[in-house]
């Protein structure tokens, strides 16, 4: 059997794929956080709960409406994104004139409410969600067997991340968005409806989280706590990358997922904490983050 640095090659590749999967979720979630933060200056603490909602909506669509994975992939982000729009209009919009920390506290409270409601309704043990028939099985790559679903998660999140990057950095809509981030009053004076843009941006960021949740549903069991521990890691990812750059948060997300996967191979005990340690080191060397502007 092949080994690399004393580790069986197959185990190493397996962990690298798992690392990329986690990296996909980090990238999608930190991307959503960065988009929301850029527009609203609010750190969306509800993001983890909205990721969890995405997975639950997928489960509900299947169990209650008989709509399968592919429908869920499309509908769950829409539904959860719509709840995000309501939350933004009813609550977050009232806080823009205040200190940004209030937005953090509000969304933290919302996360507690959402997670508590789901825990009451579905318990904490988790619900199974099957991999769609088209993506079952594995492909022999010669050096390892790659489960098809895992390959799909990585490809889907890379495509969505790149599409988001393209829209924001290379289209007219994205140009409006970036302009409104810098000088909202000026953009408004040019006749762009900035408040509506902010609302839709929040909805879009939330939809990204829900999309990640649907992708995650067949991998992890669907349970009310799946978002809360993830979101804290994603905060660390955001601190490491800095929220100034869209491409930066994508690269940082995937990169840190890989590093975490490698740590799991070589030093399993440290795999839970490695991202936080990297955050501490980045704070020492480059406080604004790898891609951030000071």
């Amino acid at each position: 059997m092949d080994t690399i640095l004393g580790i069986p090659a197959v185990a190493l590749y397996g962990q690298l794929v798992l690392g990329l999967i986690n990296g996909s979720f980090y990238a999608l979630l930190s991307l959503g956080l960065a988009v929301i933060f850029g527009m609203m200056n609010v750190i969306n603490f509800t993001h983890g709960a909205q990721f969890m909602m995405g997975a639950f909506v997928a489960w509900m669509l299947l169990a209650w409406a008989g709509l399968g994975y592919w429908w869920a992939l499309f509908l769950a982000p829409l539904i959860v994104g719509a709840t995000g729009v309501v939350i933004e209009r009813l609550m977050i919009a009232r806080l823009y004139r205040l200190d940004h920390l209030y937005g953090l506290l509000l969304t933290f409270g919302l996360a507690l409410i959402i997670e508590g409601v789901f825990r009451n309704a579905f318990g904490s043990s988790g619900l199974p969600y099957r991999i769609p028939a088209e993506l079952r099985g594995a492909t022999d790559l010669g050096f390892m067997f790659l489960p098809n679903y895992r390959a799909w998660v990585i490809v889907a999140s890379v495509v969505v991340c790149l599409a988001t990057w393209f829209v924001i950095e290379r289209t007219k809509l994205g140009a409006y968005l970036r302009a409104a981030t810098e000088r909202p009053e000026l953009v408004q004076a040019f006749g762009v409806n900035v408040p509506r843009m902010i609302t839709l941006t929040y909805g879009f960021g939330v939809a990204l989280a829900a999309f990640a949740g649907v992708l995650a549903a067949p991998i992890y069991s669907v349970n009310p706590n799946m978002g809360s521990s993830l979101i804290i890691v994603v905060f660390a990812v955001v601190v490491i990358g800095g929220m100034g750059s869209i491409a930066g948060s994508i690269v940082t997300g995937f990169g840190l997922g890989l590093i975490e996967g490698l740590t799991k191979v070589f030093w399993p005990e440290a795999s839970n904490t490695v991202i936080f340690v990297i955050m501490a080191i980045v704070l020492l060397l480059r406080p604004a983050g790898l891609f951030g502007r000071a």
């Binding site: 953090l104 521990s229 905060f235 660390a236």
Partner: protein, 324 residues
């Protein structure tokens, strides 16, 4: 952030003594602490006092420096674990066990504060939260914490090796003394020249820098003080319940400190203890509702942020126009 209640300064000419409104409030608090155990279950009151100290320590940062730490569970939990370990395994007397917990919390606060004050605002909150989560994973894996079981059946021991604390009433007076000492210390810090500089940093950091203050040093000292007192609160809680668990060090505990300060009134002296009393009472009353407690706490967060940003004591302060 704390500006909610800050329109009210101490009346001019108040001199060295505390404003009368605060003296009256303090007397009322003393009376409540003195009469409380004869009316209510002492263990419940001890829990309130521990969390009142925890929330007051947290409030030093958010209320008087303007730094929102979302990771105070780390100091509370480590204080709790280290005190429990010191009392149970090393056989230290309770006051030394609490001091050991406070010392570890202080060391942790120095390291984390030094890292976190490099950023401010939202980033500061995220960094402190992430660092605290690291402590949580450490406690989950380290052998001395007992993992999921925690440290159970730690002895309450004898104060100074002399006074047995097994009796709830005896322990109550000790806990009350610890709380009052911490509370008065924080009061002194906030109203010292040092505390005035902290408030200057909160109001306008750049101006404080231009006036020649080494802002980072002030922030770090405030951070360490806050972490240390959180450790004292955690250690005292461990002695009361003879228990240290992962709950003490997990992120919802950080959220509770925030919630108590917010409900009571961020940036007020008496707000956090009032908030602790309200939240612990609510948890006790709603305990049989299970996971709904989280929902209620979340709803209180949302309601406070949207409509009640001054908190209970902040509102009273605004009503009477005197500092509390």
């Amino acid at each position: 952030m704390a500006a909610a209640g800050e329109a009210i300064a101490a009346p001019a000419g108040a001199g060295l003594s505390a404003p009368r409104s605060q003296v009256i409030a303090f007397a009322a608090m003393l009376a409540l602490i003195g009469l409380g155990p004869f009316l209510l279950y002492p263990v419940f009151l001890m829990k309130v006092l521990c969390f009142a100290l925890f929330a007051s320590a947290f409030n030093l940062l958010i209320g008087f420096v303007g730094l929102l730490s979302f990771g105070h569970a780390a100091y509370f939990g480590m204080g709790s674990y280290v005190s429990a370990h010191a009392a149970k395994v090393w056989g230290l007397t309770p006051e030394l066990a609490i001091l050991a917990g406070a010392a570890v919390a202080a060391a942790l606060g120095t390291a984390f504060g030094w890292l976190a004050i490099r950023r401010s605002g939202i980033y500061f909150a995220m960094i402190t939260l992430a660092l605290a989560q690291m402590v949580f994973f450490f406690c989950l894996q380290a052998p001395f914490t007992g993992g999921e079981d925690g440290i159970q059946a730690m002895p309450r021991g004898h104060l100074l090796g002399l006074v047995a604390l097994a009796d709830d009433m005896t322990l109550y007076w000790v806990v009350a003394a610890i709380f009052l000492a911490g509370f008065l210390f924080l009061y002194r810090v906030v109203h010292s020249p040092f505390g005035q500089v902290l408030k200057a940093i909160r109001e306008n950091e750049r101006r404080a820098v231009s006036l020649g203050y080494r802002v980072d040093d002030y922030k770090l000292i405030a951070f360490v003080l806050s972490a240390t007192l959180s450790g004292v609160a955690g250690g005292t809680k461990a002695i009361v319940f003879q228990l240290a668990t992962l709950t003490d060090v997990n992120w919802p505990m950080s959220g509770e400190a925030v919630l108590m300060a917010l409900v009571g009134g961020i940036g007020t002296i008496f707000g956090p203890p009032v908030g602790a009393l309200v939240i612990i009472t609510m948890q006790n009353e709603l305990a049989q509702l299970g996971a709904w407690v989280t929902v209620v706490q979340g709803a209180i967060f949302v309601a406070c942020v949207l409509a009640f940003r001054r908190g209970i004591v902040g509102e009273i302060q605004a009503l009477i126009g005197r500092p509390l």
